[in-house]
Symmetry: C2
Amino acid sequence: MPKIISEETKYQGPRFNVVQRIYEDENNQKKYVRDSVELLPAAMVLPITENNEVVFIKQFREVLGKETMELPAGIIEVGEEPIVAAKRELEEETGLIAGKIEPLTEVFSSCGYSNEKLYMFYAKDLSLGKKRLDDDEHIGDIVKIPMEECIDLVKKNYFEHANQNVCLMLYYLKYVAK
Amino acid sequence: MPKIISEETKYQGPRFNVVQRIYEDENNQKKYVRDSVELLPAAMVLPITENNEVVFIKQFREVLGKETMELPAGIIEVGEEPIVAAKRELEEETGLIAGKIEPLTEVFSSCGYSNEKLYMFYAKDLSLGKKRLDDDEHIGDIVKIPMEECIDLVKKNYFEHANQNVCLMLYYLKYVAK
């Protein structure tokens, strides 16, 4: 197994740092470099209405340069439990309070170069709370799409965000398709 | 829609750069900052044997500090077609040549802070080629797991890598479960 020889923070930004580590492979003594994006974990929520519709928000994605349909998600603050962050983000972004919220899975979004971990939840028994957006979030109205239609949209490449495709398909395979 | 006011490259690394952009929201004229990790796209392959087993490689993941089961994947070189990169990575990492390789989907792995795009393929009619690893890749033997068992493992959180969960579940929903 490769071991870390040295590490150096190369960039410190508002949302993530870049840490460069030099590894040595124990098998052949060769050294190599890996840059890693290091950031706080995030919580993502699949909100499901009593009619089996999924609640999405329309959100401007700077990286894509356009508005997309997204599941509510956000950064887990330091010291905050993932499930607390999930409830908080759901209410802030959609105005909905979850009567029931359960863990779905935990994944790394791109473990080749980033330590971003996502805690995924599904939420049910939804009721109206109040919406509070952060200053730099650009989120439009909520949109409800029936679960089966969501899976058809995933199959047709409609959603471009890998993590929310995991949320949708995993919930479907675990609790709907069986 | 927010528009870009300025952009500045904050870090240039061996595998990715960090670009900081300042945006202005057209609705309220407020400015805000976004850091973006910018890197080449990647190709990921779901190799399926004639017995409906999925071929994985064991790969050391620096970010996780351990060896995990991974689908063959790698960076698409500048000017290279995604499908050519997929075939190349499959052969380099597993030693297998695909008689048939088809696109499965295209996703962004974490569109909140990175422009990483993944082109996913599935490969069939596999035959033996030769294995060639890059110097800094740490890949062990290949492992074959029946497709249905892979889906059970996804449901049990066995795989920690979001992108390969997308590959596995999407193929299953499109071509196996129907």
